[in-house]
Amino acid sequence: MKLLEVKNLKTYFFIHDQEIPAVDGVDLTINKGEVVALIGESGSGKSVTSMSIMGLIDSPGKIMEGEILFHRNELFTDNLLKKSDRELQGIRGNEISMIYQDPITSLHPMLKVGDQVAEVLQIHKKMGKKQAKREAVEMLKRVGISDAEQRADELPEKFSGGMRQRIMIAMAMISNPKLLIADEPTTALDVTIQAEILDLLRKMGQEEDAAILLITHDLGVVAEMADRVCVMYCGKIMEEADAKELFKHPKNPYTQGLMECIPRIDDDRRKTLQIIEGYVPHPTDFPKGCRFSTRCPKVMDRCREELPELIEIEPGHKVRCFLY
């Protein structure tokens, strides 16, 4: 059952008289309870997509067109782009929550962590301070903060990065959201902690029956968590498929290149690694035609002139490439 449908989303940034197409016609579907990974490098537009869904795009950014259909239940569907900021405030943190990359800067340095988590309930469930605090402590226990009763009265600086991320997850999940957007939740964490946070996310998602939109650049994280994967490059989706299918049969040359060039721990040591030639183009400098044409090993003349469409070559597997 569909939960969120993003249709032809275009979010542009206007900086120094230049138009930067950060998100350029993105279609995305998230089903109930599903884990969808949005993978891409810098400039791919993956974070901007998530901020657009949450309605947190400020100037100089602007959502130019598109629809974001949120099917909150069988009867009601809302286009989030048509809602006022007030209405979106009711949805943010409530039905759609978000956790961010850097747990150090994401929590308010001068407020107690228990209060920060309880605030969600005070805003959305109109709970009194005491009760909200009690539930916040329960939630902190659930995410694995030991001695939650006492620690809820401490400031974020007393916690390590991993613990802070757990607090963020508590804050996001306490309202039973239908969708959790996780923007690079483990990038700033140590490897051993990363694994635990991912486990926690998966567990929470299952327990609360929440869908997760996982934004990352790490294929390993994707392989562990995702049911379906969307690969973004320079503002466009290049490929979309089930996780297993994508890793076994990547079709887009960019996806193929990514998978081959990453050094893997389970590989034999090789003398030279595979590479993708060239660099990610600057948003002001996108090539005409297919955005990957400047680096693609299988580039054809057509790719440099025309932009390929995203087509479904097999059920559940979409590719944007003239090879198909």
């Binding site: 929550s97 961010y100 800067t105 994401s106 929590l107 605030e119 805003i123 963020m168």
Partner: protein, 314 residues
């Protein structure tokens, strides 16, 4: 650890005390120079109106008077300098305190309002803050006085208060105009600090987290930004204080409000006192002012270093 703490603390207090004493001594020397001491240039040579020996003697007597406390008993127009100082001090304090409070009450809400109208009319709101900061105090006070005169001539009442006549010092009403005048500059300053703090914080990640939680702007302001705003204003309190003290003298003079600043100018320029009375009174007042300013300044500085970090944890 404890002894090191005590030693370090002792050192710091000692240095501060030395600085204070040095400042006071310099002021004392400067104010000890007799008012009719002149240097003039005549026939290609420099002449002093009195010998340096006399000046030195004067300064020395000055010191003696101070250290023994006799200077406070010098009588001017029926009152001793000591009592004069006390009453002037209280009056100035009223204006300074009232001015700070009013500045806060005007400045912070204005700053909040300024930050809401993001993007458009950016230059205009900047001007609103910078104009009071850049025109001379005398002009500001002059404008307030024009406003007062206008209200007076047109018999306009504000909140049940009739037009304010000059009532001397008997009524608290005479503090109103000085308080208004002294608060304008700090208010502009505080509003700029508030607005820029809000703008600065708005892009910070934890504010984005708060917005992502569904907080409205009002909630973000109250719960997430207020502490930072107060913190910033308190941090810049030394500057604001310096501005207010310098304005105080001008404002008291122009409103004939008999606080410390007024008397300073009076003693310096009046002809109705003997040189000894004048220099004694001036010395007492300026030393008092200097001491007061220094204590206040140190108080703010100490607050910044010790208490503000605690606020962080409240």
């Amino acid at each position: 650890m404890k002894t090191e703490f005590a030693v370090n603390l002792g050192k710091k207090i000692f240095y501060q005390a030395i600085v204070l004493v040095m400042i006071l001594v310099i002021i004392l020397i400067a104010s000890g120079i007799p008012t009719d001491f002149n240097v003039y240039y005549e026939y290609g040579q420099y002449h002093w109106s009195m010998s340096l020996e006399e000046v030195r003697l004067n300064i020395f007597q000055h010191f003696q008077g101070f250290l023994s406390g006799e200077i406070f008993d010098v009588v001017i127009a029926g009152e001793s300098i000591g009592t004069l100082f006390r009453s002037a001090f209280v009056l100035s304090l009223k204006v300074l305190f009232g001015g700070t409070v009013l500045a806060f009450l005007i400045g912070v809400p204005k700053g909040i309002l300024d930050s809401r109208k993001r993007g458009k009319s950016g230059t205009f709101k900047l001007l609103q803050s910078y104009i009071p900061l850049s025109i001379p105090d005398v002009l500001t006070v002059g404008l307030v006085q024009f406003g007062a005169i206008y209200l007076y001539y047109n018999d306009i009442t504000f909140f049940g208060l009739g037009p304010i006549h000059f009532l001397g010092d008997e009524s608290w009403l005479s503090t109103i105009y000085p308080i208004i005048s002294i608060s304008i500059l700090p208010a502009a300053y505080m509003s700029r600090i508030t607005a820029s703090t809000i703008e600065d914080l708005y892009t910070k990640q934890f504010i984005i987290t708060a917005r992502g939680k569904g907080c409205s702007f009002g909630q973000i302001l109250r719960q997430h930004m207020m502490k930072n705003i107060v913190f910033e204003i308190l941090s810049s309190s030394p500057t604001i204080m310096a501005v207010m003290f310098s304005s105080l003298i001008i404002i008291e003079r122009l409103f004939y409000y008999q606080g410390l600043g007024y008397h300073l100018i009076f003693f310096f320029s009046s002809y109705s006192l003997t040189p000894e009375q004048a220099s004694a009174a001036f010395a007492v007042f300026i030393m008092g002012l200097a001491f007061f300013y220094y204590m206040l300044f140190m108080g703010f500085k100490g607050m910044k270093t010790w208490i503000l970090p605690k606020i962080k944890e409240s």
